[in-house]
């Protein structure tokens, strides 16, 4: 019985999916994909970005002026570094949200 309990606990531990760390950033001015190449380029250099998701960790949406950023499961978001990378790319980040697994957006302060 004890072995069964341990097995169930281990199964539950490893069967629990990792919580995805996807973020969406609203970027003022980002209306042209050619001009905003530097935004994606700079974000990809950040150590916490998960290159396995999106397009090497980043997806730019100029129609809605947003950038999707995937963060590695074993890392944490550095908002200041992310915003600096976008500013050095020539644009103005104005807000950031965490995307939950259910698709909700939770605004970060």
């Amino acid at each position: 019985m004890k072995n069964l309990t341990v097995s169930v606990c281990l199964f539950m531990l490893f069967a629990t999916p990792a919580i995805a760390q996807n973020y969406i950033v609203n970027v003022h001015g980002m209306v042209c994909e050619l001009c905003s190449l530097g935004v994606a380029k700079n974000i990809r250099k950040l150590s916490f970005v998960d290159a396995a998701k999106y397009d090497d960790g980043v997806q730019v949406d100029v129609e809605n002026q947003t950038v999707f950023v995937a963060v590695s499961d074993d890392a944490s978001l550095d908002k200041q570094a992310l915003f600096a990378a976008i500013e050095e790319g020539g644009y103005s980040p104005v807000g950031i949200w965490r995307l939950t697994d259910s698709g909700e957006r939770l605004e970060l302060q």
Binding site: G29, C32, C35, L37, G38, D61, Q65, E88, G90
Partner: protein
């Protein structure tokens, strides 16, 4: 003497070389970005290939070099330092630009020319516009590009623009106008431009203008 004559001819620079900056007036606007473009232009019964490079120190400061090469060799190059003040809004971006430039006698001779350009451009998801007044040597000009943008949401876009160019120099005045097509996919951009001479009173220039530009940015 022949070499000097060729150099002087190549020194008569097209407005495209004065009013527009690589790469296709748009990129790179990020720190440490760089790019190259080649523009082949046919005007005034001659064909000139421009090799142009740009390096962006930061969005507000970049430098460009434009080197012309004609059938008779190297012409006079133009070195410029575009300075830009960007304003990013919710649905658009715009900038004022001030670009000092110098024409270097790489094609021969000893004459250096100074120039200056003042520009404004803005872009929204659907509209692009560029206005530029400039002078270099004895040439003064105005260049206007206005049109629509069609992004496909997958890394490429078409720009369909209309260009109006007015030039005044010691040899006369000209007004040219015509369509411009710009296309880019990821980091590669192309621009095709054809302008009709609507007002053609210049002793050294005549006829229509055709150019094709292909560039890449990193």
């Amino acid at each position: 003497m022949n070499g000097l004559l060729i150099a002087l001819l190549l020194g008569i620079t097209s407005t495209a070389a004065l009013a527009h900056q690589p790469v296709v007036d748009m990129a790179p606007r990020w720190n440490g970005g760089y790019g190259f473009q080649t523009r082949v232009e046919h005007a005034n019964s001659d064909t000139i290939t421009w090799l142009e490079g740009v390096y962006t120190f930061k969005p507000a400061v970049r430098m460009t070099l434009k080197i012309p090469y004609g059938r008779d060799g190297l012409g006079n190059s133009i070195f410029a330092v575009p300075l830009k003040q960007y304003k990013n809004a919710a649905q658009s971006t715009s900038n004022w630009g001030l670009t000092p430039s110098v024409r270097v006698p790489t094609g021969g001779g000893n004459d250096w020319d100074g120039g200056l350009s003042l520009s404004y451009s803005s872009e929204s998801v659907g509209i692009y516009q560029l206005y530029d007044v400039h002078f270099l040597g004895d040439r003064r000009g105005l260049d206007i590009n206005v049109g629509t943008v069609y992004p496909d949401g997958r890394g490429s876009a078409w720009f369909t623009l209309w260009d109006v160019t007015a030039v005044d120099s010691d040899s006369g005045q000209r007004i040219l106008t015509g369509p411009v097509l710009v296309y880019f996919r990821r980091n590669i951009a192309a621009r095709l431009e054809y302008k009709l001479a609507a007002y053609d009173h210049d002793d050294e220039w005549s006829g229509n203008y055709l150019s094709f530009t292909l560039g890449i940015v990193y």
